[in-house]
């Protein structure tokens, strides 16, 4: 698991989701990237109405880790478990209840270029598409600060001006820690929350 950066593509005025996806994927293919299957990330959110201080719990499935499930609490705790987690949560129905409209997912095309993995996904709630996600992973390196120069160069050529100007703070936790799947899942939850908010605002 290498360093991963995830962001939401901000669609220009007058461009629909399909057009944006086509634009980015043609850009990615021009760089020489090869299609490498599909990917899917699902996130279901739970809360505990009976426990006043409980934070929201996000349960994440990522096709990149088919045998694992990730549980992420809003305040930061993180768990990696096997596939039985969702069955277990449904047994705890009395405490953890699925949030209304809490299911959100992201599906799309994977690309490979050298050791880079590029994923373009459509984020949707229920059946309606809400936005576009762009994910870039550089697998051989496990320190975000070291390979940021390379990643930033790659992001520039994929999403142009929307690439972050410097290393985002959420890629670089405490000190020089190694990158972990937790940071990937946090970015997903963050993006999903942002997309939900903008949907509500509209």
């Amino acid at each position: 698991m290498g360093v991963t950066y995830i962001c939401q593509w901000k669609q220009p005025e007058g461009q629909n989701i399909q057009q944006s996806i086509e634009q980015i994927s043609s850009c990615v293919e021009k760089l020489g990237a090869k299609k490498a299957g599909l990917f899917q990330v699902e996130c279901e959110s739970f809360n505990a109405p009976n426990a006043p201080n409980a934070k929201t719990l996000h349960l994440i499935y990522d096709s990149e880790f088919p045998a694992s499930r990730f549980a992420l609490f809003e305040e930061g705790s993180f768990l990696v478990t096997d596939v039985m987690l969702s069955a277990f949560l449904s047994k705890l129905r009395a405490v953890w209840q699925p949030k209304k409209g809490g299911k959100i997912d992201c599906k799309g095309q994977r690309y490979e270029l050298g050791d880079f993995l590029i994923k373009l996904g459509v984020v949707s709630v229920g059946a309606s598409a809400k936005g576009i996600s762009v994910e870039l992973e550089y697998a051989p390196c496990v320190y975000a600060r070291d390979c940021w120069g390379m990643m930033s160069e790659m992001l520039q050529s994929i999403i142009g001006e929307q690439a972050p100007p410097s290393l985002p703070s959420n890629l670089q936790p405490k000190g020089t820690e190694r990158f972990s799947p937790e940071l990937t899942m946090q970015q997903y939850v963050e993006m999903f929350n942002n997309i939900r908010k903008t949907v509500v605002a509209r």
């Binding site: 270029l113 880079f116 051989p140 390196c141 120069g149």
Partner: protein, 327 residues
């Protein structure tokens, strides 16, 4: 071999004769059937009139002439048949030409007639045979006029050609360990430890910065194998031995492994006196990769080239450079 070819050639001649004979036989047989088709009575009149002028009147309308011709034709058939049979007996078993092996079957393929593969194969074979013969003659001539450059016997000369055995295999174990320790102290940002040692062979684990790990197999101080792997890749197998054979899953590490092997070859040719020099050069060269992910290419100034960082380091001045930017 060549008389087998001659035999085959002879067979071919017989075969063509046999084919002509068979055609002859077929035409005489056709004559017989034609005669029979024409029948006796109705045509006999006309034929009879026509032939009367030439032959005598002896032939009447009773079909005597017909019988006579029938007999003539049958005799011709008999003669041709005997001819063909004779040819067949002349031919020795042609089907299994030992020299051509399975390629002999090519001659049976009718499509092959168009592209002449079989003919070419046979020609090639002939040329090859000739070459072989000339070579044999040449060898025998040269053996009688040998020029000796050294006093060594032929057998000893052949042995000498083999790569010289590594010079320093007999270094005492203590010396090797000490050398490795000294070398490891000279490296910066790079840690070196011995994973396994048995006899003269040591497996050395080298961690270069925060970039990759290298497994080096040493026989005494001679480098036998270098394998570069990512930091998060497994190097210890389930049975607790070191994985020396599976390539890295990362493209860049695979390419650096290739470069490292050529570096080993390059440094091994240095005829420097101290035995640890090739290893020392290799370690310094590998150490230069500690900036693999951070440094841009010194030629084009970019980080990426086709999705890969600057993977190349020159063997003399190890500065980062893309594979494609190498001068």
């Amino acid at each position: 071999m060549s008389d087998v070819m001659a035999q085959a050639k002879l067979n071919m001649n017989f075969l063509s004769q046999a084919i002509t004979g068979t055609q002859q036989l077929r035409s005489t047989v056709t004559n017989v059937f034609n005669l029979l088709c024409e029948g006796v009575k109705p045509d006999e009149e006309e034929d009879g009139k026509g032939d009367d002028a030439e032959t005598a009147v002896t032939v009447g309308k009773d079909g005597k002439k017909f019988l006579q011709r029938f007999q003539e034709y049958l005799e011709a058939v008999n003669k041709d048949y005997n001819e063909v049979e004779k040819m067949c007996n002349n031919m020795t078993s042609m089907t299994d030409l030992p020299v051509l092996g399975p390629s002999g079957a090519l001659s049976l393929d009718s499509i092959a007639d168009k592209n002449s593969t079989y003919r070419d194969a046979v020609l090639t074979y002939q040329w090859n045979n000739r070459l072989h013969e000339y070579a044999q003659i040449a060898t025998s001539l040269m053996l009688t006029n040998q020029i000796k450059r050294s006093q060594l016997q032929a057998g000893a000369g052949a042995k000498r050609r083999r790569a010289a055995p590594p010079k320093f295999t007999n270094l005492p174990s203590q010396t090797v360990d000490n050398t490795l320790q000294t070398l490891s102290r000279q490296l910066s940002d790079t840690t070196m430890k011995i994973l396994q040692a048995s006899g003269d062979t040591r497996i050395v684990h080298l961690a270069v910065g925060r970039v990759f790990v290298v497994i080096i197999v040493l026989r005494s101080l001679t480098i036998e194998k270098v394998l570069v792997k990512g930091l998060d890749e497994n190097i210890i197998l389930e049975n607790n031995t070191v994985d020396l054979f599976s390539d890295s899953q990362y493209l860049c590490m695979q390419k650096i492994t290739d470069h490292a092997m050529s570096a080993v070859l390059q440094y091994s040719t240095y005829q420097a006196s101290p035995p640890e020099f090739p290893l020392k050069y290799l370690l310094y060269w590998l150490q230069s990769y500690k900036s693999l992910f951070t440094d841009a290419c010194t030629v084009c100034g970019k980080h990426l080239d086709n999705g890969l960082p600057p993977l190349w380091r020159d063997f003399k001045i190890p500065v980062p450079c893309h594979d494609s930017c190498r001068a």
